[in-house]
Symmetry: C2
Subunit: 198 residues, 2 copies
DNA sequence: AACACAATAGGACGGTCGTCCTATTTTATA
DNA sequence: TATAAAATAGGACGACCGTCCTATTGTGTT
């Protein structure tokens, strides 16, 4: 296998699945954007489902790399959570037009097969990582609940922001989310101070 | 035009667009579920886009009827907002499998044409109605912000709940949303009491 | 240099799609 | 009842789909 070509195919397919949706993207779309033939593409992936699996794996490793990068560069768990929250602003140009890449693909995959676990994999990766950040803040009891709230809040903002094309609204909600994170931190340090005084 | 047949077509198309997505639903699917011919369907709708427009209009009027029904039966704006919040529980069996009908169609339409306003129409209807409820509560300054927050929170819960197939999580978030509404109400009546005492 | 195999191109295949066309049946009106 | 219009059925059409097959080119190993 020519790994280089294979990886190019996966990257282009990931983009097209995001921009057009999985169903609406054909082998010919992927091949022609790469300047290769449909037969060549089929040599690397024996079915469209195989290509989808590769794209999901590609997105998982991309996401894992991003999370790992945040681990190294950030000063604390609050800052790391804010990195996630700010994605919707960083990628606004694409989210406005195509929605959230994770949520829209999840929607499509769940409709294809409600039992398929691929739909939740990237969400699950973010969930575990966010849960860890909230645990480090000191919210271990509610870490998973808060992780899910960050996920759903961001997801909702992406959907509504895209539907209305309203960047002002998106920025306002991102600010509100960051304030919520800061308040969690403050009440936590306050509790810690109280505990220390007892 | 046979209005009866036309309305049956729209209702079935709305269901199929929800269950399979717009792109994945063909004229043959709609016709065969109704037991009519493809040619007959094309007699009533001269293109797939015309059918889509009719479905969007149908959903708008259905939504308007639901909102109007809540106006008559509920005791106050808080109860009416909670009616909206509880939709995700009422319709969980379908939302788990197919996601939110408004959000998933919006995603698809925005990808087809980012400038198309149909994608936001049902959201906009809920938005105006929710804004009115928050205004009646006494939160006129933040009525639109709160309306959008209810929309996005619910939307996020629908997406994540569907992705993970987790009804426990959905119920927990619905409870949290209702508590938030109650707290808004309490702080409002508290403010009113303070104002009366001054 | 000879050879095995990966990589690539190009097209055939059966199927489905949206659209359109033409008959036939039903319905409403004069 | 006669007739025009609406409703319905059924299929033709070109296009595109995922899949598969074959032939050709490139590449690395013996």
């Amino acid at each position: 296998m020519n790994v280089n070509t294979r990886e190019k195919i996966i990257a282009v397919a990931s983009d097209l699945f995001y921009e057009q949706g999985f169903e609406a993207t054909s082998f010919l779309h992927v091949a022609s954007r790469l300047g290769i033939s449909k037969g060549n593409l089929y040599h690397h992936f024996k079915s469209k489902d195989a290509l989808l699996n590769a794209v999901v794996g590609f997105r998982l490793s991309e996401t894992a790399n991003m999370l790992q990068h945040w681990e190294g560069a950030s000063t604390g768990p609050q800052e790391r959570i804010k990195h996630y929250i700010n994605i919707v602003i960083q990628n606004w140009d694409k989210i406005r037009v195509f929605g959230c890449p994770v949520g829209t693909l999840s929607n499509e995959l769940v409709k294809r097969d409600p039992e398929n676990k691929d739909a939740q994999k990237v969400f699950a990766l973010f969930r575990v990582w966010l849960r860890q950040q909230f645990t480090e803040i000191g919210e271990s009891d509610k870490a998973d609940e808060y992780a899910m709230r960050v996920l759903s809040w961001s997801q909702g903002v992406a959907v509504l922001g895209s539907a209305f094309g309203d960047f002002i609204y998106v920025k306002r909600e991102v600010t509100a989310m960051c304030i919520w994170i800061d308040e969690l931190h403050r009440s936590d340090t306050a509790n810690s101070a109280n505990e220390r005084n007892n």
